[in-house]
């Protein structure tokens, strides 16, 4: 199934910004991150269709997964 992956900040370096990629059905956010060599511990926030999500959440066809490193001040 197709998943659109969006990466931000340090995660973009040497990877991608936005890309629609093919994944097996039932793939989790964590598995997508791992496929891009992003460690769970470095993920500050994962959004599925722009809503806060757990890394273990299973994705559905056409979902957009956005991964951010840890942020938090301003």
């Amino acid at each position: 199934m197709e998943i659109t992956v969006r990466l931000y900040l340090t995660f973009r370096t040497g990877r991608l910004r936005t890309e629609t990629r093919e994944y097996p059905a039932g793939v989790t956010a964590a598995a997508v991150a791992r496929s891009l060599a992003i460690r769970d511990a470095d993920i500050g926030m994962a959004l599925v269709n722009n809503r806060q999500a757990e890394l273990e959440q299973e994705l559905r066809p056409g979902d957009t997964l956005s991964l951010f490193p840890v942020v938090g001040g301003g």
């Binding site: 900040l9 809503r51 490193p69 942020v71 938090g72 001040g73």
Partner: protein
């Protein structure tokens, strides 16, 4: 050496131009920074006083841990009754002033009364002497021009807190600018109109000369060293430190855009179609490409290892402004429909030079757009309006008084503000915990009172937001009392005994594991009591009504955290 360190409260009467040095009252000893300001305001200021009148006092207080080059922990708190909210106000900044005050042994500097004539003064404070000098030669001057003149006169080693023309004109958005470690006046106690209070005291600048001063004594140096090491390692190891070193706080632009919380066109949308072009990612690429004076990373305080600040240079490599921060980008960029970082940087420089808060000015300009004074995205017009503020014209004064005043005069209901203070760059309908902070904090629409962005929670769901905001508000009130930066919180959070161990080693106290929360709760309790005596009730802890009614695109969210839940947020502290 240590025996000579003489910690005192310095009290200055600006009318009689006298200084007295007083012993620190016992009830003030265990507080610093924001917590100490709350105690002093409650002890000394008539809560119903006129904020710009002779009864209000302007207080400077470094945090409890200032003076030891602890990373991100040398901050200065300044406070008074706020001319914007009419309640308690504390605003903290980096730079060198806090460090100088601590080495001079100043627990708190209290400025009281009001001169009877209009002349402005420079107050020079050192361990040897106090000097008052008419400031006629720098009155009306922006801070970037005035600071070098003061440095030429008083020497390159001093710290300075100074006003731009906005503070002299007692505008509600006026702050107090401090020098960073390169002696550039860009570290501002920005919010709540403290510059206006200093203007009412007719002080253009305060010069702190710490010659002959010394580091504050440490009761148990071995234990302090150990705790400092653990804390520093935690800061260095924390991934957030790296994110902010590389991208600065501008890292938040696309985070907030993705959450639908990026203030766009006066808070009428939570996402901006050109967000990438004002993002931290783009900012970093630009600075790396431009080189010259540009720097993606810069320390605003001498001992900081996070270095979240930056130097934003133009195409020619020359500095446009330093730093360029998320809040400023949000309020002067997407909030006005402006998508050009160079333009935002130049507006930032102007507003800094006038000595104003970019957040409240940006929000006022957003309101001005809604009122037809400016078209969305028209940066030339925005610069003209900022020029009106500098020249103190009637239109300039309306905008310079902040978003709340601008909304009233211009007839705009959609004003993003609570307790008279414009909201920082997080639309509270899409980050509801921060909305709870905006509504319930003692100080109004200020994210530094308790940002919940990092909490793992569905930010658009009203559930759990009161608890998230409460935890954030208590922790940050604790950090503000230590003199620790919002960025240091990550290091402290992953080095759980650091706060306790540092305080106990520094002062010989016996605080427990909950040291941070004890300080935070006491601070909030004192602030709430001040506000209560100033006439605040639960009716003041309300979100603007339009935000509960107007759905925010793209996720069509309103602010819907139940009021009764918010009302009880600190009932255990009252």
């Amino acid at each position: 050496m240590a025996a000579d360190y003489d910690l005192k409260v310095w009290r200055v009467n600006v009318r009689t131009q006298t200084l007295t040095k007083e012993p620190v009252p016992a009830s003030w000893e265990r507080l610093g920074g924001r917590g100490l300001l709350a105690r002093i305001l409650l002890d000394e200021i008539e809560p119903t006083c006129e904020p710009l009148g002779p009864k209000n006092k302007l207080v400077f207080a470094p945090g409890l841990l200032v003076g030891h080059m602890l990373s991100a922990s040398d901050r200065l708190s300044v406070g008074a009754k706020s001319p914007l909210s009419g309640g308690f106000r504390e605003s903290n900044s980096g730079g060198s002033t806090g460090l100088h005050m601590t080495s001079m042994g100043i627990k708190a500097l209290i400025l009281e009364d009001r001169p009877s004539d209009a002349a402005f003064w420079t107050l020079y404070l050192s361990l040897r002497e106090v000097r008052w000098k008419r400031a006629d030669d720098i009155v009306g001057m922006g801070v970037y021009e005035a600071a070098p003149r003061l440095l030429a006169e008083y020497g390159n080693k001093v710290a300075i807190s100074l006003l731009g023309p906005g503070g002299e004109n007692q505008l509600g958005t006026a702050g107090i600018q401090n020098l960073d470690k390169e002696r550039v006046p860009g570290r501002i106690n920005a919010r709540g109109g403290l510059g206006a209070v200093m203007g009412s005291k007719r002080l253009k600048a305060i010069v702190f000369d710490d010659e002959g001063g010394q580091k504050p004594p440490i009761k148990d140096p071995e234990a302090f060293k150990k705790a400092q090491k653990a804390y520093t390692q935690a800061v260095l190891a924390h991934p957030v430190s790296h994110t902010y070193r590389d991208y600065g706080t501008a890292a938040n632009v696309l985070v907030c855009d993705a959450l639908g919380a990026l203030p766009t066109r006066n808070f009428s949308s939570g996402t901006f179609e050109q967000a990438e072009s004002v993002s931290g990612e783009h900012l970093r690429d630009l600075l790396l490409k431009r080189g010259g004076e540009s720097n993606t990373s810069h320390a605003c305080m001498a001992g900081c290892t996070i270095r979240c600040s930056n130097i934003f240079g133009g195409d020619d490599g020359k500095t446009i402004v330093s730093p360029l921060e998320y809040e400023t980008i949000g309020l002067l960029g997407p909030n006005l429909g402006i998508a050009d970082l160079d333009v935002i940087g130049r507006m930032n420089w102007e507003i800094n030079d006038i000595g104003l808060d970019t957040i409240d000015v940006g929000a006022a300009l957003g309101v001005a757009c809604d009122a037809g004074l400016m078209k969305w995205g028209d940066s030339e017009r925005a610069m003209e309006l900022i020029g009106e503020i500098r020249r103190n014209t009637p239109v300039g004064r309306i905008l310079g008084m902040g978003a709340t005043m601008a909304g009233k005069v211009l007839g705009i209901e959609r004003v993003p503000a609570t307790k008279g203070l414009a909201m920082s760059a997080y639309d509270p309908r899409a980050i509801k915990g921060t909305g709870v902070t905006f509504a319930t904090s003692t100080q109004g629409g200020d994210h530094t009172s308790g940002l919940t962005l990092r909490v793992k929670i569905d930010h658009r769901d009203p559930k759990g937001q009161v608890a998230a905001s409460r935890t954030a508000q208590i922790n940050i009130a604790g950090y503000d009392t230590l003199g620790a930066c919002i960025m240091s919180g990550f290091g402290y959070a992953t080095s759980p005994n650091a706060v306790r161990d540092l305080l106990n080693a520094r002062y010989g106290w016996n605080m427990g594991d909950d040291a941070l929360q004890v300080l935070g709760k006491e601070t909030i309790r004192l602030e709430r009591e001040f506000n209560r005596r100033a006439g605040f009730t639960r009716a003041h802890d309300r979100m603007p009504e339009w935000m509960t009614r107007e759905a925010l695109p793209p996720y069509d969210v309103v602010f819907d955290v139940p009021q009764d839940e918010m009302d009880d947020i600190f009932s255990d502290l009252d």
